[in-house]
């Protein structure tokens, strides 16, 4: 006989429109919850502020990725053309003054490295890929990527309580409030 216990993951509540979700998010933020999230079918502008999220730190990663790309291109071209195997072609010298001829490659590798850093930093910050998630156990989670606007308050939030949170979500206009449980060990 299976002895698995269900562990509560979150309360999931649906809101009828973008505006309703926006207002509700402000209330959840002001109520002092920290482990919670909004789920929307499209990127909703303004919701970050309503949730009290800070600006993404992604650009810092990309900056360093770009710098590494620039240095890689410079060293690759300079060391090989001037250091290891000086080639005097196209009337260009084999010294520091030949560097402008490397600009296109320096530009391209800067973009290449920055672009891949943006991708991987985004995945890292989102902790993706992750093919399973407790939320997928919800019977209405599939509507997030269709037309549903949801707020989930997670059980690991210190202010979470099984009764209180449900009432709170109902009070701020949530519908179809669902207790999402994951298989515990």
């Amino acid at each position: 006989m299976s002895t698995s216990v269900k562990r509560v993951y979150c309360y999931l509540a649906e809101f009828e429109s973008a505006s309703a979700l926006y207002k509700a998010a402000q209330k959840v933020r002001d109520a002092g919850f920290s482990k919670w999230d909004c789920y929307t079918p499209y990127p909703m502008h303004g919701l970050d502020a309503a949730m009290g999220l800070k600006r993404s730190i992604l650009p810092y990663f990309v900056f360093f990725g770009g710098v590494i790309g620039l240095l890689t291109a410079f060293l690759l071209a300079y060391v090989t053309q001037v250091g290891i195997y000086p080639t005097v072609v196209q009337g260009k010298p084999a010294n520091i003054f030949t560097v402008p001829a490397f600009f296109p490659i320096m530009f391209e590798l800067t973009v290449l490295f920055s672009g891949f850093t943006a991708l991987f930093a985004c995945l890292g910050l989102c902790q993706l890929p992750r093919w399973n998630h407790p939320l997928f156990a919800s019977r209405q989670a599939h509507r997030i990527t269709d037309d549903g606007f949801f707020i989930a308050i997670e059980a690991r939030d210190p202010k979470f309580s099984k009764e209180g949170t449900k009432g709170f979500l109902g009070g701020i206009g949530g519908d179809n409030i669902e207790l999402v449980e994951e298989d515990g060990k």
Binding site: Y22, P41, M44, H45, D48, Y85, L135, T145
Partner: protein, 497 residues
């Protein structure tokens, strides 16, 4: 003051209610379609049985690809590049014409995704996915030609910056090597951009699938996306940065391609106008190809409410603008050749227009400069047959432009003893037709398996997606009064912030 002035005027009109003009934005999703309708319609393209026309196009094009590209390349590699029509003088010939043609088509995708994103042109949302896919496929077609044009394709790895047996490194000062970096970077970044943009939509398809292999595959490629706003926040930032990176990238790629020509001392190529002229031409040709593909797709899959006449109108205007820029560049080239006083330069251009390749010049001028002028007229932009006709003309015209630049210039250089009329071989023609088949069949596979419209962004572009939409809806004029009074309060410092 104003009051007294009004009173003194004897025939002052009676005060009446002033109705403020409300400038409505043209809607990007017509007929008040719901979010669910958008999901259904776009996913339906993937989930439903394909229309007969899909098979009617796919079977011939995949055969063209297999025979033209597959067979052509096998014959080429096993026999040698001599089977091409390239001659001692016209050493670039059709292969490089085709390369520049395809790489040019690949420009509209990233332009639509990146530049129109940065300039907040929200109409891009319903066409950017297909345009990006087109970019990827066009660059694949383009890449075939230079890779095999090196002669011994098994030596193509010499282009990669890795030490080889002779310890000779690549010449990083050469525009040809810049091209390797530019095109491969462009392909990689376009792929990243395309994929990242597709992740939320792949999740939509995943959530609609029943259990099985299909669900597992969409699940893997959607990376476990679950629409969390904490994710959207990073995602939007990554997308913005990729757009900002791609904007100079897209301009750089065709500039670098033009350097292949412009840095040489061949009369007719050695001009500073080449980079902007090539970039404008690429955008021009790319948009024509987007319309060529999207108008039938819109018709057969019933996407009219998302790809509206407004979109087609906008793209037609861009074609008109860039086509006119290209026309300006053609004329400016002639003027500069005349003004330079260099007799070889003048001879090259006289030869282009009056020489044995005059037909290519006429085709280029009439297709690229004259035919888009129809788009000055609204009636032409609204008639899809005219739009399709012009786009087809532009597609052909852009190929002729590259032919004019490459073949007519090379066919006659400084040494009259080298002058010879260039003819393509049947392998040239087969390979080119093969790439058309490859491009079309890849695009049809894309329509079959991937969301062809950016579902999330089209939803975002709807008016009710604005978080303040309800506040506006509470008033009959949809919010102008609320906003105006709020602005008034802000000005007076009485607003609650």
């Amino acid at each position: 003051m104003a009051d007294t002035a009004t009173k003194t005027t004897s025939e002052a009109p009676a005060p009446r209610e002033v109705k403020l003009p409300v400038l409505e934005r043209e809607k990007l999703v017509l007929n008040k379609r719901s979010y669910h309708w958008i999901t259904e319609r776009v996913c339906g393209v993937v989930e439903n049985k394909q229309p007969m026309v899909w098979w009617a196009l796919f079977i011939p094009t995949i055969l063209m690809a297999i025979i033209g590209v597959g067979g052509g390349l096998i014959y080429l590699v096993t026999t040698g590049v001599g089977v091409w029509g390239n001659t001692n003088r016209v050493m670039w010939g059709w292969p490089i014409v085709n390369f520049v043609f395809w790489i040019g088509i690949g420009h509209a995708g990233t332009l639509i995704s990146a530049i129109l994103f940065l300039t907040r042109q929200n109409w891009r949302t319903s066409i950017n996915r297909a345009a990006e896919a087109m970019t990827i496929f066009a660059v694949i077609c383009a890449g075939i030609f230079p890779a095999f044009h090196v002669g011994r394709v098994w030596m193509a790895w010499y282009l990669a910056p890795i030490p080889n047996a002779n310890a000779v490194w690549q010449n990083f000062k050469s525009p040809l090597l810049w091209d390797v970096f530019a095109v491969s970077t462009y392909f990689s970044i376009s792929l990243v951009f395309w994929f990242l943009g597709m992740v939320p939509d792949l999740a939509t398809i995943r959530d609609r699938c029943k259990r099985g292999v299909k669900k597992a595959l969409y699940g893997i490629f959607s990376l476990g996306w679950r629409g969390s706003n904490r994710h959207w926040s990073h995602y939007e930032m990554a997308y913005l940065i990729l757009a900002a990176l791609s904007t100079p990238l897209v301009l750089s790629v065709h500039s670098v391609v033009s350097f292949d020509f412009a840095t040489s001392i061949v009369p007719g190529w050695h001009t500073t106008i080449f980079p902007p002229y090539f970039v404008a031409g690429a955008i021009f040709g790319g948009f024509a190809m987007v319309l060529t593909i999207m108008i039938p797709a819109r018709f057969f899959y019933g996407l009219d409410d998302m790809i509206t006449m407004k979109h087609i109108d906008n793209m037609a205007k861009i074609i008109l603008l860039t086509g006119t820029i290209v026309g300006y560049a053609y004329l400016m080239e002639l003027f500069v050749a005349f003004y330079s006083g260099a007799k070889y330069e003048m001879a090259a251009f006289t030869y282009r227009i009056t020489g044995p390749y005059w037909w290519a010049y006429v085709a280029m001028m009439s297709c690229n400069v004259l035919s888009p002028q129809l788009f000055w007229f609204k009636r032409c932009r609204e008639n899809l047959w005219v739009v399709m006709g012009v786009c087809m003309a532009v597609n052909a015209g852009m190929w002729f432009e590259r032919f004019v630049i490459i073949v007519t210039t090379l066919a006659r250089d400084f040494m009259p003893a080298n002058w010879k009329y260039y003819n393509p071989s049947w392998v040239d023609i087969g390979l080119f037709l093969g790439t058309i088949g490859l491009f079309t069949s890849l695009f049809l596979l894309f329509l079959r398996f991937l969301p062809c419209i950016n579902i999330a962004e089209v939803k975002w572009a709807k008016q009710e997606s604005d978080v303040h939409f309800d506040d506006k809806k509470a008033h009959p004029d949809e919010g102008t009064v609320v906003e105006a009074s709020y602005q008034h309060e802000l000005d007076n410092g009485t607003a609650e912030v």
